[in-house]
Every structure is written in structure tokens, then in C-alpha cells.
């Protein structure tokens, strides 16, 4: 399903993207993601397709706001029955929906007696009662317990896949996009990139996209040569080998993005064939959970995340080390000339 929406108020937003399967739209807070969803649901004035000019009650969408918006004065089954036509068998129909989502046991409870994950299911069942052709989820994990968040969310994604309903979920947590069928990135109140998570995570189109995707090392350089599928990029006197992008050509200015966890520490001379090796001094070393976060300076500055599976003994501020980066982990993106 193609979404093409333009809003003027409360923010100026332009969004064109494809929703196929479970699609996640990620962007920083304040990008207007919630406004976009409300516009698609018909709750904010906007121009765009589909449903141009239709009032919200005519649009076949299921909208789950942040916190799910269950009606607090209605029992779970009454919430689910809300969109069902007023006739006999309404309760049975609601219960059937709840059985389908594995929440039949919660039918008599009021929303304040449900956990975040249970509320989400009730809200989903309620939205399904409307027989929507598009599901809109606003920050689907914001009301979930952090400990079970990922598990509950991936179950939700599975459930929605099983139902086979195109879904657009917006979140500021790009990590959730990893579980989706498709993802899009929003920056500067526009969609800057979309594709499968694998495509998008591997090849951010620009610095903003890279930052959203969690790349902490963003550099500028120039392609010197392209040989055998590899590009050599000059960055402030240092040369890095990178997988050559299809659009790349010698002499082109490019942006370089490297993930912190893709940098390893080793000793000079011992690097694998073709691997980039940079001599650096470790400026700061601090624990980050079970990993070590290292700031290293040399010809360029690098942010490095060492997992506990890597040899971290003796890693300390002040020491010299060689940073090893495989060429396929050096991502190039186009910059404005």
C-alpha cells in the first residue's frame, strides 16, 4: 500500500512510503510521526492518498495510539465489541476476536487491571473488529515493561503477520525496525530512506539516516580509486578500504559511516588480509553493561564498542592499539557536492 501524505499543521510534514507487511517508520522524537499517523486515520487535516477527504469514521484503518487508548469505563470485551455492529451476538463476536488473540480470559476485566501487553492485545482486537485494511501503531512498545518489551513486541509482530494486515508502526526506537518486514526513516519531517531492514541498516543514505540507525562514527572523505569492487577512501590523510557502492567513482566526495561494534582492537601486523588497520591511542574507556565503550584518537577519532566476547583484558585509557575494520563494514554514502 502506497502512503502519500502532506500536513501543514501542527507540523509541516511530507511522507511518501510503501507499507508492505509489518512496516516500521523510525525517526527521532519531534519528527511528527504521531501527526502522520493521525492524519492517515483522518484525525488531523491533511492532503494525501489513500482516503483523501474521508472523515475518520469512514476510513478502514485500525489506529492504536501510544498507551493504546482503551476506554477505561468499559470491560475488555466491551472495548473489543465497540466497533462491532449493534445486534445480538455482539458479545460472542467480541469473544471470538479475543480467543483469536489469546486473551479470552481477560474479557471481564477493566483496562486498569491489564498489563501493558494485555492492553495492547485488547486494543488490537478492538481495532480488528472494525475490519481495517491498514493498521496504524504509535510507539507500540512505549507502554510495555522494559524487561519483556522485545518479546511482547515480536509476538505482536508475529500475530499481525498471521492476520496478514498491512501495518505501519512508528517509533523513535530504530532497534524495533530490525524485526519488521520493511522500514522507513524519517528525518527533517520527510522520509529519507526506505527498504527492508537489511538494506537500510547496511546502507544509510546520508548522515542523518546513519545517525538514526545507530552509526556513531560519521566521517567525510574522497574516493581515490575503485579496484575490484573495493574503494579506497582518503580521510584526513588516512586511507580506508570500503566495499564500493554502485554509484561510486574516483574523485567523489563521500560520507563514511562505521558502527562502533564493527571496530575491533588488535595488534599491528596481525590484521587479516584486506582488513583496515588504524593506529590509535585509547583516550577513554568505560563500561557499558557487559561491553566496553572506547573513545580512540589517531588521525581520525573513533567510537568503539567492544563486546565481552572480544579480548578486553588490559584495555585501558592511554594505551596504543590498532583498530581493525573490515572493508564491508565501512559504509559509504553520497554527500551534497
Amino acid at each position: 500500500m502506497e502512503i502519500d501524505y502532506r500536513l501543514e499543521r501542527p507540523l509541516r510534514i511530507e511522507a511518501r512510503l510503501t507499507v508492505a507487511g509489518f512496516t516500521v517508520l523510525a525517526g527521532a522524537s519531534g519528527e511528527g510521526k504521531t501527526s502522520l499517523l493521525k492524519a492517515i486515520a483522518g484525525l488531523l487535516p491533511a492532503e494525501g492518498e489513500p482516503y483523501r477527504g474521508w472523515p475518520p469514521q469512514r476510513r478502514p484503518v485500525g489506529y492504536l495510539p501510544q498507551g493504546y487508548g482503551l476506554f477505561p469505563h468499559l470491560r475488555a470485551w466491551e472495548n473489543v465489541a465497540f466497533a462491532l455492529p449493534e445486534r445480538s451476538g455482539r458479545r460472542e463476536a467480541a469473544l471470538a476476536l479475543m480467543v483469536r488473540l489469546g486473551i479470552a480470559g481477560l474479557a471481564e476485566r477493566f483496562p486498569d487491571a491489564l498489563s501493558g501487553g494485555q492492553q495492547q492485545r485488547v486494543a488490537l482486537a478492538r481495532a480488528l473488529g472494525r475490519a481495517p485494511e491498514l493498521l496504524l501503531l504509535d510507539e507500540p512498545t512505549s507502554a510495555l515493561d522494559p524487561a519483556t518489551r522485545d518479546a511482547v513486541f515480536s509476538e505482536l509482530v508475529e500475530e499481525i503477520r498471521r492476520i496478514g494486515l498491512p501495518t505501519l508502526a512508528v517509533t523513535h526506537d530504530v532497534h524495533l525496525a530490525g524485526m519488521a518486514d520493511r522500514m522507513a526513516l524519517m528525518a527533517g519531517r520527510r522520509i529519507v530512506q526506505e527498504g527492508t531492514p537489511r538494506e537500510v541498516f547496511a546502507a544509510p543514505v546520508d548522515g542523518r539516516a546513519a545517525r538514526l540507525l545507530g552509526y556513531r562514527n560519521l566521517l567525510n572523505g574522497v574516493i581515490e580509486t575503485i579496484v575490484g569492487g573495493y574503494a579506497t577512501v582518503a580521510i584526513e590523510g588516512v586511507r580506508l578500504r570500503a566495499s564500493a557502492p554502485a554509484w561510486g567513482e574516483a574523485g567523489q566526495r563521500v560520507g563514511i559511516a562505521i558502527r562502533s561494534e564493527d571496530v575491533a582492537l588488535g595488534s599491528s601486523g596481525a590484521e587479516p588480509e584486506g582488513c583496515n588497520a588504524l593506529a590509535l591511542r585509547l583516550v577513554e574507556v568505560r563500561e557499558e553493561g557487559l561491553s566496553l565503550r572506547v573513545a580512540a584518537h589517531g588521525s581520525i577519532a573513533l567510537d568503539i564498542l567492544l563486546p565481552r566476547s572480544s579480548p578486553t583484558d588490559g584495555v585501558a585509557a592511554g594505551m596504543s592499539a590498532t583498530a581493525l575494520i573490515r572493508p564491508e563494514h565501512v559504509h559509504l554514502f553520497r554527500v551534497a557536492e
Partner: protein
């Protein structure tokens, strides 16, 4: 004392005593041995209760859309409408009564017109109800408006996305969620309507409701004739607000 707020609780207790002292005084002042009603007392109770029961649905029926409009409407110059609702509330009842007399009285523009179709709005039952509506409706509208404003707009929006029309969303979500405040507004309107004196005095001195009858009893027969009717007044005025207050705190009153 539990809670550890010695200043607040002792001041609170003192204020409480201050507030209920007049009611305690009534119990002592009433001459229980000579307790009797005088002619017209029961008629006054009937007039007050019956016409308040007429006025209250009218207030709810027409005040609710206005309250809703004030809570959710997004038009320019809304403050003017808000001021208009406050106006009858801020006007001293006696002054409002005079204003009503000059509008609905036999020589007023509307009054003269209505008189032609046989509706007399001075010292009649309709005049009595009219006075009650003017006295009570603003209280209902302002209270119900605040109640509607407290309903999260998001929940009403969701109701729309679930395919319901606006009026269905109002009945299924807004009204039940605002029921505490709406019930409070109805209770307030009820006691205002029953107790209305200033406006009634000017345009509906007849038929005598309880407040006017109290005044007449005081003038004609003295305090001893007032107390029994006053007890009766409390007896009929208080159950409804108390019941609404208690019932609306439970789920599913509407």
C-alpha cells in the same frame, strides 16, 4: 490524629464545625412540641418539587449540547460565549428577575408576543419553571463543560476511527466518562432550581414554591411557622444530590 497534619486537620475541623453550626442550630431552635405545618406548606413543596422535576430535564436536554460545544468547539471569539453563559450566574438573582420581567412580562417584547398565543409568563407555572431554568442552567452548563473537557480527546478520536459517528461517540464515551461531573452539575442545578428565590420573587411569586412560602410564613406567622417547612425543604432537596453523588462514583450509572 492519623496523617500528621496537625494544623490542617485542626483548622479543617474548625471550619467543618463552622459550616454545620447553622444546621445544628435549626435542630435546637425548632419547637418540636408545637411542630406543625400551616396551610399551603404542602402545596409549596409540591410546586417546588414538581416544577423542579420539569425544569431539570429541560436544563439537561438543552444545557448538555451547550456544555459540550463549550468544551470541544473551536471557534473564534469563544470567550464571548463563555461570558454569555456566566452572565446570568454573575447577575444578582433579583436583578435577573427584573430583567426577565421586562423581557417576558406582559409589557415586554417577548411576553407580549407569547401572551397572544395564550402563554402568560408572569405568576404562572411556566413562569416559575422559566425562573428556575435561568437560575440553575448556568451552574449545570459550567459544571458539565468542565466534565466534558476532562475526557481525553484521544479516546473520542479512537471512537471515530472505530467507525462510530460523533453522536455515538458522545453517548458511548464522552457522557459515561464525564458522568461524575455531569451528575454533579445535575445535583447543583436541582438544588439551585429548588432554592431559587430572587428571580421567582419577581416573575413567579405565585404559585408559591418553598422559598417564597418560607418568606411568606416568616412575614405572616413568624419563625415558628418557618422551621417545619425548612425541615421539609431539606428532606426533599437533599436526597437527589446525595444519591447522584454516591451513585455516580460507582460504575455504570448511565
Amino acid at each position: 490524629m492519623r496523617g500528621g497534619f496537625p494544623v490542617a486537620s485542626s483548622v479543617g475541623l474548625a471550619v467543618l464545625l463552622f459550616l454545620i453550626a447553622p444546621f445544628a442550630a435549626l435542630a435546637f431552635a425548632t419547637g418540636w412540641r408545637q411542630f406543625h405545618f400551616i396551610s399551603g406548606d404542602f402545596a409549596a413543596v409540591f410546586v417546588s418539587v414538581f416544577y423542579s422535576l420539569v425544569a431539570l430535564p429541560i436544563i439537561a436536554l438543552f444545557g448538555t449540547p451547550l456544555a459540550w460545544w463549550l468544551a470541544r468547539g473551536t471557534l473564534r471569539g469563544k470567550w464571548l460565549i463563555e461570558a454569555a453563559v456566566l452572565l446570568p450566574l454573575l447577575t444578582p438573582p433579583l436583578a435577573l428577575g427584573i430583567l426577565l420581567a421586562s423581557l417576558y412580562g406582559p409589557y415586554g417584547p417577548v411576553g407580549a408576543l407569547l401572551e397572544k398565543v395564550g402563554l402568560l409568563l408572569t405568576n404562572t407555572a411556566p413562569a416559575f419553571v422559566l425562573a428556575q431554568i435561568y437560575g440553575a442552567m448556568p451552574y449545570y452548563v459550567i459544571t458539565a463543560r468542565a466534565a466534558f473537557e476532562s475526557v481525553p480527546r484521544e479516546l473520542e478520536d479512537i471512537g471515530l476511527t472505530l467507525g462510530k459517528e460523533r453522536w455515538q461517540v458522545f453517548l458511548a464515551i464522552s457522557l459515561p466518562m464525564a458522568r461524575l461531573g455531569v451528575a454533579a452539575g445535575l445535583a447543583l442545578a436541582w438544588v439551585r432550581a429548588l432554592g431559587e428565590f430572587g428571580i421567582v420573587l419577581i416573575i413567579a411569586y405565585f404559585p408559591h414554591g418553598i422559598p417564597v412560602k418560607l418568606w411568606v410564613n416568616l412575614e405572616d406567622s413568624g419563625l415558628s411557622a418557618v422551621y417545619p417547612l425548612l425541615w421539609l425543604f431539606f428532606l426533599v432537596a437533599l436526597p437527589l444530590p446525595l444519591w447522584l453523588g454516591i451513585a455516580s462514583r460507582r460504575r455504570g450509572i448511565f
